[in-house]
């Protein structure tokens, strides 16, 4: 598999900082904001955003992690039931502005599932979407409000985000499929 690096650690750090500023600008401050990161890696990014926002604005935001497996639209299509990870949102989202955070925005199906999951938790005033990488090829009418980097890709390529917390380094790679390789759909998410 050929592999190219799209973002290095420094670029990721600056992107997170910029997104934090953009969120605060858009929301005119930190009032009513909560962050929900989509497992996996979206939650690590959400935590980083919370740290940045606290540094910039002094406000400590609630951060939740959401696993969208139960809301996927392709349950029953794979050989095995998809593996489930932790969901923890132990604050009320009703009346709040929820910023959904994910690492890669691709087909939009993950975000669609996340929105459906969130409305079962309560009724936010509004939802915003922040992603580290937008790689195009939307299959649903979903768009991100805050984007770290727009990266045009071929549909059969895969984008892999590595984060210090999980993978020991910060980087974003694009990988070409090897001969005979199936289109990767990422780690158990439908993107």
């Amino acid at each position: 598999m050929k592999s190219g690096r799209l973002l290095d650690a420094g670029e990721i750090r600056r992107a997170v900082t910029r997104i934090a500023h953009e969120i605060l600008e858009r929301n005119k401050g930190a009032g009513g904001l909560v962050l929900v990161g989509i497992s996996a890696r979206g939650d690590d990014l959400a935590r980083r955003l919370a740290v940045e926002i606290e540094r910039i604005e002094g406000a400590k935001l609630s951060v939740g992690v959401l696993d969208i497996t139960f809301y996927r639209d392709d349950i029953g299509m794979r050989a095995e039931a998809p593996e489930v990870h932790e969901t923890r949102i132990d604050f009320d989202i009703t009346g709040k502005t929820v910023v959904l955070v994910d690492d890669v925005l691709f087909t939009g199906r993950t975000i669609r599932a996340a929105m459906d999951a969130l409305v079962d938790f309560g009724r936010p005033i509004s939802m915003l979407l922040a992603v580290l990488v937008d790689r195009g090829h939307r299959e649903l009418p979903i768009r991100a409000d805050f984007v770290g980097k727009n990266v045009p890709t071929r549909k059969d390529e895969s984008v892999r985000v590595a984060l210090e917390e999980v993978d020991g380094e910060d980087a974003v790679y694009v990988e070409e499929p090897g001969p005979g390789a199936e289109r990767r759909v990422g780690r158990e998410k439908n993107e």
Binding site: F70, D74, I75, G76, R78, E80, V84
Partner: protein, 310 residues
């Protein structure tokens, strides 16, 4: 995972870990305001209960509904089952209704196996005669893991009428599979002589076993068994094998007291013992829904006939 869950031996140790881990997520769902996820939307789960069991049936029903599946209940009161329709004819009717999963509880050992011959969906054994009750064992394993944190080397005793207990079989097999140390305790007439072939020990002296336990699992002993002369009197049975206040005092600190319910207070367990904090009997019930959701999700969440695009 296996297509059917007829016996605890249908799942490997890895499967058990997966089932229990997934049950954690479903327990979280139970804490939400909307205790429902769309994971099994459009699937049909049938509860085929030939034996009355409000507790287990409701547990399965809630589990299926919280997964957004459609639920059909066939129970002994008020359906063709009561009119004496054969198991086969009932199965074919359910098959025609497109049941994706059939949860069956029946008084004849082996009936879930028989059912698999006539239906295409998954069959889950909710208790068959004196054979097995694998979902009960799984939820007991969940409770144990939650409270004690491990299985390897865990010292467990299962006390009472093992011979007639489907719970005892499933739990013994399950605990042994996960590396625990299991001792069956009871009068010789109620413990199968071949039990050591299951990988367990046997003892007829409860007082010798209690001081070295992490889990004390009391089985229900029916008064019927006295009539069948497996022991001379209920009084003698509870004196020799009942969990009394004194015996609880002999248990190590932190030892769990468990019972599959419903209890025969005064026979296998003294009434006030059941209400002690070490007795996690109520929690066994709560965890049941999460574990059953986990099973339904893992068994139906993969493709059966459909081939998906990846």
């Amino acid at each position: 995972m296996n297509k059917h869950l007829l016996s605890i031996n249908d799942v490997s140790a890895e499967d058990v870990v997966r089932i229990l881990d997934t049950a954690e997520s479903f327990r979280e769902v139970g804490t939400r305001v909307i205790k429902k996820v769309p994971a099994l939307r459009g699937r049909t789960v049938v509860n085929l209960f030939y034996e009355n069991s409000t507790r287990t049936r409701i547990s399965f029903e809630l589990a299926a509904k919280r997964l957004s599946a459609d639920v059909i209940n066939f129970s002994t009161s008020g359906s063709s089952v009561a009119k004496g329709e054969s198991l086969k004819d009932t199965a074919l009717t359910l098959q025609a209704m497109g049941a994706d999963a059939i949860v069956i509880r029946h008084s004849s050992s082996g009936s879930p196996y028989t059912l698999t011959k006539w239906v295409r969906g998954s069959v889950l054994n909710a208790g068959d005669g004196t054979h097995e009750h694998p979902t009960q064992a799984l939820l007991d394993l969940y409770t144990i893991r939650e409270k004690v944190g491990r299985f390897e080397g865990l010292r467990a005793a299962i006390v009472g009428d093992v011979l007639h207990s489907r719970v005892a079989r499933s739990l013994s097999f399950g605990l042994v599979k996960m590396g625990a140390d299991v001792t069956l305790v009871g009068p010789p007439t109620l413990i199968p002589p071949d039990a050591p072939a299951w990988g367990v020990q046997v003892s007829h002296d409860i007082d010798g076993v209690l001081p070295k336990l992490d889990v004390c699992y009391m089985l229900r002993v029916q008064r019927e068994r006295q009539r069948q002369q497996y022991f001379p009197s209920v009084r003698e049975y509870s004196r020799l094998f009942g969990l009394t206040r004194e015996r609880v005092g002999m248990l190590p600190e932190g030892c769990l007291i468990m019972h599959p319910g419903p209890m025969n207070r005064g026979v296998e367990i003294e009434s006030d013992v059941a209400d002690l904090p070490q007795a996690v009997i109520e929690e066994q019930v709560t965890n049941g829904i999460a574990v059953r959701m986990s099973l339904l999700y893992l068994m139906l969440g993969g493709s059966s006939e459909r081939s998906g695009d990846e």
